[in-house]
């Protein structure tokens, strides 16, 4: 389902116009529930997927409530391990091929928004057993998980925020300006997705075709042309990914605002980050915060409590593990392992560099370093290009020979 499609946008505007005409919270909630199911059905009508999704949701909710009543952390850990294993199999990660019989990965099951359902479920279970969610109802939980604004690609809203809306919805946007701002946000999102991102993708595809043509001809393209082609490919894809995803977020955040639902922001000028740790608080922010809260924090705290003397060394390892896993989530083929390793190394290196600066110049030296505008400009430039380099390993739809990675490896004669 394309959120920038005319059908989706017309549906969104109709919902925004009619939602507050419905009398009472219950009728509005029922309307949203029906819409959630309808979007899910349109995205994937396969009965097997619905059954498996139902099993996921019921077991997740049941485990959270059961473990909360009994403080059964061992059982939760077991459930999360099994849940993660099933998630990994359903995502068909190629690196599992040597470990699992091929048949297991050749299943026909496709669950719409599986990754985001997984993230929300882990958050819900952990927060529930830690007493951070009071009296969760299955009705609220079900709509939280199936909320069509966040179903396809996030943002990863927290249960507490959704529940406060669900139980006591916000009133209609207070002023005409607020409504216009929401429409403008949607319009900007549509522009990003359907004009800018689409044009970049078209250019990227065309450049890929050029590369295949050059390879099929006896005479290679002149060096300046090849260099211009490489740079074009290098920048086009990261820019396309950003505009496409940020545009999607603009549409769903603006659309949700029309019915009084506040969704978390997912981007904050990520290409102006000064290092890769900073980058992950600006790019797909709700994923970065989820990783911080449900992978990095528990891992670091467990290790640092066990051996406080080695806490700072553990921090580097935890940064690596957390962002290696983030990288791995982004794809299923073997190239994504390199992408993930580069992100794990990038965040660990950023922390190591900061520790070195602190050791060398103390807190005053670090502050001076952080306040320097030329250093900031250089740091932003280097971070942007490091990220752009990692995207060379990001899976795309182009044939391997048409990609800039292939050209780079051929140039290096590797």
């Amino acid at each position: 389902m394309n959120v920038a499609s005319l059908e989706f946008l017309l549906g969104l505007f109709a919902l925004g116009a009619a939602f507050f005409l419905l009398a009472g919270h219950l009728s509005r909630r029922c309307a949203l529930f029906v819409l959630n199911l309808a979007v899910l059905y349109l995205a994937n009508p396969a009965p097997l997927s619905w059954i498996l999704l139902g099993v996921f949701l019921v077991t997740g909710y049941g485990t959270a409530l059961w473990a909360r009543a009994r403080s059964a952390k061992g059982a939760v850990a077991l459930y999360l391990a099994v849940f993660t294993l099933v998630f990994v199999i359903l995502k068909r990660y190629d690196f599992l091929l040597p470990l699992l019989p091929g048949l297991i990965l050749e299943h026909p099951i496709l669950i719409t928004g599986l990754s985001y359902i997984f993230f929300r479920q882990v958050h819900f279970i952990v927060d529930a057993i830690q007493g951070q969610i009071e009296n969760p109802s299955f009705w609220t939980y079900l709509n939280y998980q199936l909320n069509f604004f966040c179903l396809l690609s996030g943002p990863i809203q927290r249960y507490q925020d959704f529940a406060s809306y669900w139980v006591a919805p916000e009133p209609p946007p207070a002023s005409r300006e607020e409504v216009l701002r929401a429409f403008l946000r949607i319009l900007m999102g549509v522009g990003k997705v359907t004009v800018l991102a689409a044009a970049l993708l078209m250019a990227y595809d065309r450049m890929g075709e050029w590369r295949l043509t050059w390879l099929s001809q006896a005479n290679a393209a002149p060096l300046p042309v090849t260099l211009a082609w490489f740079l074009g490919m290098l920048y086009a894809y990261p820019l396309y990914v950003y505009l496409n995803f940020a545009g999607y977020c603009d549409i769903v955040i603006g659309g949700a605002f029309l019915i009084g639902m506040r969704l978390p922001e997912n981007f904050d000028r990520p290409y102006l980050s000064r290092n890769l740790i900073d980058f992950w608080t600006r790019w797909h922010r709700t994923l970065g915060f989820w990783v911080r809260d449900y992978i990095f924090t528990p891992l670091y705290m467990a290790l640092a409590k066990r051996s406080p003397q080695a806490a700072s060394r553990w921090a580097f390892a935890c940064y690596f593990v957390a962002f290696f896993l983030v990288g791995m989530w982004h794809g299923s083929n073997l190239k994504i392992v390199v992408f993930a390793l580069l992100h794990g190394i990038g965040v660990s290196a950023a922390k190591l560099w900061e520790a070195w600066l602190l050791k060398r110049g103390g807190r005053a030296g670090l502050r001076k370093y952080l306040e320097s505008r030329p250093i900031r400009a250089l740091a932003v430039f280097l971070t942007l290009h490091y990220f752009v380099f990692t995207v060379l390993f990001f899976p795309t739809h182009l044939a391997a020979e048409a990609t800039p990675l292939h050209a780079l490896l051929a140039w290096l004669q590797w």
Partner: protein, 84 residues
């Protein structure tokens, strides 16, 4: 509460290795040098150990949100210790 603040100040001084820290409720991460996300976790570990309490994952991250400050930590700690 004042005793709690004084004890918390000792923890802050120890974690940030700065004997001159004088806690006030309105202080945030910007007012204490080095209070970044990693030091926040070290601070939480030290507070848990000193007061024998445990913070939930979402409490740890919420304490770093905009609008939260030392006063938020004092209140949460007091609640956990049954002094709130």
């Amino acid at each position: 509460m004042d005793e709690l603040r004084a004890q918390l100040q000792e923890v802050f001084r120890e974690v940030f290795d700065d004997e001159e820290i004088a806690l006030r409720d309105e202080m945030t991460g910007n007012d204490i040098e080095g209070w970044d996300s990693l030091m926040h976790l070290n601070l939480i570990i030290a507070v848990e150990s000193r007061f024998g309490v445990k913070f939930a994952t979402s409490e740890i991250s919420n304490l770093r949100n905009d609008g939260e400050n030392v006063g938020s930590m004092v209140s949460l700690l007091a609640k956990k210790l049954g002094r709130g």
